[in-house]
Symmetry: C2
Subunit: 215 residues, 2 copies
């Protein structure tokens, strides 16, 4: 588990592994890996800059100077995660793309310990982390819009389909059930939520009325 295993969609190696940038990049990677490991083991309450520095094998003043506090460390975990080349699944149909995407989310949210769930929880504690999480989610949903544009090109969906609303509808039930309602994980959940969104999309649920796009 690395700092970049963030879901909803990310299970890519962190960027500093792919683009080794010398000592600074290496230290960043060590520190962010240590944040994720400490968070997974002890939760937010056990997460301290000192523990992160010790685990990463760097001097505590390095951590203070560069990241400031726990919120700054968490924010950088989110920021590092979006600096990758993750792309959503491309399986040939809207429903199966959404199902594959939901499988990634389901896996991230049901991993034990789940770094994603721990980071979501931590974002309720730190405004800096919350803002970075918002940026990461915005990035992930923006990348996923290609799922919808491909479906439009294939003729599966009408051109004026609101991609973001469709993607939120497809993925929201997983977050709601696994993070908030804490229901038992169900292997059918990813496919069912994908099918629900695809059926609603085909029925025009996400089609913007022409008026909203001007004349």
């Amino acid at each position: 588990m690395t700092a970049a295993d963030l879901g909803p969609e990310g299970t890519r190696p962190p960027p500093t592994r792919r683009r080794p940038g010398g000592r600074t990049a290496r230290i960043r990677q060590q520190v962010l890996d240590a944040v994720v490991a400490e968070l997974g083991e002890h939760g937010y309450d056990g997460l301290t800059t000192d523990a992160v520095a010790a685990r990463a094998g760097v001097h505590r003043t390095t951590v203070y100077r560069r990241w400031g506090d726990v919120g700054g460390l968490l924010a950088d975990v989110f920021d590092a995660a979006s600096d990758d080349d993750w792309q959503p699944p491309d399986t040939g149909s809207l429903e199966s793309d959404l199902a594959a995407l939901n499988q990634e989310i389901h896996a991230a949210l049901t991993a034990r310990p789940s770094v994603v769930t721990a980071l979501i929880a931590a974002s309720f504690r730190s405004e800096k982390a919350a803002q970075a999480q918002q940026r990461l989610w915005e990035d992930r949903y923006a990348r996923c819009e290609v799922i919808v544009s491909r479906a439009v090109r294939r003729g599966e969906l009408p051109p004026r389909t609101d991609a973001r609303r469709l993607l939120v509808a497809a993925t929201a039930p997983l977050y709601h059930q696994l993070v908030l309602l804490r229901t038992t994980p169900d292997p059918h959940m990813p496919g069912q939520a994908a099918r629900t969104a695809a059926l609603a999309a085909a029925a025009g649920a996400f089609t913007e009325p022409p008026s909203t796009r001007g004349a």
Copy 2:
């Protein structure tokens, strides 16, 4: 704002107001109101049993003895909220019932301060609170199943419709966007999510295959 204003669906007066139960019930109400007020003003980090006791005007040992700690106090806020007679909206159609339900959720999640959002955040801090929140949500979703059974009786939906999945699909986008993604509140959101779920339901998204119900 009282301890019972919990959403997704509850904006009822707390039970102890409707069924005055003497001193014990009155103290419980004072204490739970104080928990909600302290949580709204200071968040979880400012919530202490001493501050709650002071605000409620009861002795601190009364709070310790009866609720133990902050987790116990929060759990009782959730438990008190489900001890009411809240029923979901009954407007005559599936889509408008879901839209009215979503309006209640949207109002609860966008109130400032939002007690519901503060309680969701607090549930990531206390296992006792998290379990009580799960019980309350289970209670609320169970009560909402009548929305689906009424639609089945009206012939809007096939008999073998999975009520819970439909209700989660209808409501999840609001929680996802307002609590996790923290997108800007949008007055169209409740109706759009309701329409999406109703269209998916009409297209058979929540219809259980006969095999799952046996012969």
